[in-house]
């Protein structure tokens, strides 16, 4: 951002009369320094933020070491801090949510752009975006009231019958659990994935589409060979934003996942994620427990940052070749 700002200003300077140059030079400097100040302030806040969380959790890291990441038991009451079950539940629920949300979201985006007539398109888009405006606690309630009975009576028995009650659809069918959390998360991240991939695909130049058709391509070939590959980086961005939201989602997950920090045995297991554990336990945490919760926060931040970096690398790889 800094670089492009500078380029922008230097370009304007270059093309002006000496008089205008002086006048604009003054206001340009003002803007440059204001923007720099804002940017530095923002970086400083971010650094302070990371520092304080890490600092807060430092006792836990020095005391527990690697068992914080690899320990399979999370029991703060007994001062046992192994976050692996929480990490697994977080990652699994997000992955399964993506498994639902990505194909449905992409399909919805394509239907919005290519199938619906323009007027319906606007209405449907608005509805999808409305989904994003629903507070997550409402999603949680909806999960409890509507989805728990439905999952336990209909969906999970059916899933279990698919594998004959074996992994990954094994164990007690309680309705609540990792599977339900994934479904709720999928619904919650759907609007993000739909809205972004819709915008990315709609922004593709029309002549790509026409160029392919003019070579004798069918509509499905245009879609598979031209549209989706060209929109790949934007779609990856949409997915990573959705994943980021799912990893960090707290209250809705807390309400439907069962709240039991044990190693997940199947998708029907009750569990607890990093975020939901922090939210449930911080109210009655001892200083020692608080440090451990800080460590969970650090792990969570690292996970979301990791997703971000991965997405960026994937995007750079595809767009680096394409433009």
């Amino acid at each position: 951002m800094n670089q492009s700002t500078q380029r922008f200003f230097s370009r304007r300077n270059a093309s002006d009369s000496p008089q205008g140059l002086r006048a604009r030079g003054g206001s340009d400097r003002f803007y440059v320094w204001t923007l720099r100040g804002v940017a530095m302030l923002f970086s400083a806040i971010l650094l302070e933020f990371v520092y304080s969380i890490v600092h807060q959790s430092w006792p836990a890291w020095t005391h527990e070491g690697i068992t914080l990441l690899t320990g399979t038991t999370w029991n703060p009451a007994a001062s046992v801090y192994g976050a692996l079950p929480l990490i697994l539940d977080t990652v699994i629920s997000t992955l399964v949510a993506l498994l639902f949300a990505v194909p449905i979201g992409l399909g919805t985006a394509l239907v919005l752009i290519f199938v619906l007539p323009r007027r319906l398109q606007a209405i449907a888009s608005a509805l999808v975006e409305l989904l994003a405006a629903i507070p997550s606690v409402v999603y949680g309630l909806w999960g409890l009231y509507v989805l728990v009975p439905w999952m336990s009576a209909t969906v999970q028995p059916w899933l279990a019958s698919l594998t004959g009650g074996r992994w990954p659809f094994s164990g007690d069918n309680l309705g609540a659990g990792i599977m339900l959390a994934s479904v709720v998360l999928a619904v919650m991240i759907l609007p993000t994935i739909v809205a972004i991939s819709r915008d990315v695909i709609a922004a593709l130049p029309k002549d790509l589409n026409e160029g392919a058709l003019s070579l004798g391509a069918s509509k499905s070939q245009v879609l598979r060979k031209v549209i989706l590959p060209s929109a790949k980086s934007g779609i990856l961005g949409a997915i990573s934003l959705g994943a980021g939201r799912a990893l960090g989602e707290t209250i809705a997950v807390l309400m439907v996942i069962g709240g039991n920090a044990q190693m997940p045995r199947s998708l029907f297991s009750v569990g607890a994620t990093l975020a939901s554990t922090i939210a449930t336990e911080y109210t009655e945490a001892s200083p020692q427990n608080l440090a451990a919760l800080g460590a969970l926060a650090v792990i969570l931040m690292a996970l979301t940052a990791g997703v971000n970096v991965l997405a960026r690398r994937l995007v750079n790889r595809s767009s680096g070749l394409s433009s």
Partner: protein, 276 residues
């Protein structure tokens, strides 16, 4: 009947007693968008292995006519094409030709070079063949080489076929698009202002290329550049926008005649730059 004095409705474009069988015939073609007429009553013939240019001011319907020839208007909701458009005597709308097949027989090059940005040079050139189901590597290789040679691009890209097409210059990208269209071996190549986004040197190379390609393919070109029409085309159609904003064919004939001895005063005014 062949002259433009009584232009509208009297098939001004049909060449009198032409000895050559036209490859493409337009008879009283109308194009409308949601009821608004954009092109009215246009008739002319496209002779094989010639370049036919469509000239006229903005809004006169040049591109609209061009896009009706490979049914690109099918994509536009509310678009309607009437009249007869015959490819080798078979109507391209009513004659039962599959649209995909039609488009592989009538290729198109666009105003802005539009190579597929995520594909390599090689994959761009063979994309049309792949769309049409060709899988055999040796066939694809052969077609890619010959199309790139035809498009005068082989020498500069043969060593970097795996590189992304977007690394090429604008002129090279447009030649790549021509190569991509040629690889499918179309009978007709439609060109919609193919040089309007290019620099003069690239423009000249494309024009030279068009002349070289005449023995392989029939071309129909829309151009805003009258010198270009005069330089490269054999036949020329001049269109104007009528009072109701519908495009009409004013005059059609050999390019020499249109530019030096037109039948209609408006043609003379236009080619001499008095309006438009």
């Amino acid at each position: 009947m062949s002259d433009g004095h009584d232009a509208v409705g009297n098939n001004p474009g049909v060449l009198k007693e032409s000895s050559i069988t036209p490859v493409l015939q337009l008879r009283r073609v109308n194009v409308s968008f949601s009821g608004r007429v954009a092109v009215r009553d246009v008739s002319f013939d496209v002779a094989p292995n010639k370049i036919t240019s469509l000239i006229g001011p903005s809004g006169s319907g040049k591109t609209t006519i061009l896009r009706s020839l490979n049914r690109l208007h099918d994509l536009t909701k509310g678009a309607k094409v009437d009249g007869d458009l015959l490819l080798d005597g078979v109507d391209i709308y009513k004659g039962g030709i599959a649209t995909m097949l039609l488009r592989s027989r009538i290729g198109m090059v666009f105003q802005r070079p539009n190579p597929f940005p995520t594909l390599s040079i090689y994959d761009n050139v063979v994309s049309g063949l792949r769309f049409n189901g060709v899988r055999k590597k040796s066939l694809l290789d052969e077609a890619a080489e010959s199309a790139l040679i035809s498009a005068a691009l082989w020498d500069s890209v043969s060593s970097r076929m795996k590189v992304h097409a977007s690394t090429l210059s604008g002129g090279e990208q447009q030649r790549l698009c021509i190569a991509r269209a040629l690889a499918v071996e179309p009978e007709i190549l439609l060109m919609d202002e193919p040089t309007s986004s290019l620099d003069p040197v690239s423009t000249q190379r494309i024009e030279e290329l068009m002349t070289e390609l005449k023995n392989r393919v029939t071309m129909v070109i829309v151009t805003h550049n009258m010198q270009q029409a005069a330089r490269v085309s054999d036949d020329c159609a001049f269109l104007l926008m009528a009072d109701d904003r519908a495009g009409e064919l004013i005059e059609f004939g050999p390019t020499d005649k249109i530019f030096h001895d037109p039948s209609d005063a408006r043609t003379l005014d236009y080619v001499h730059g008095r309006f438009g």
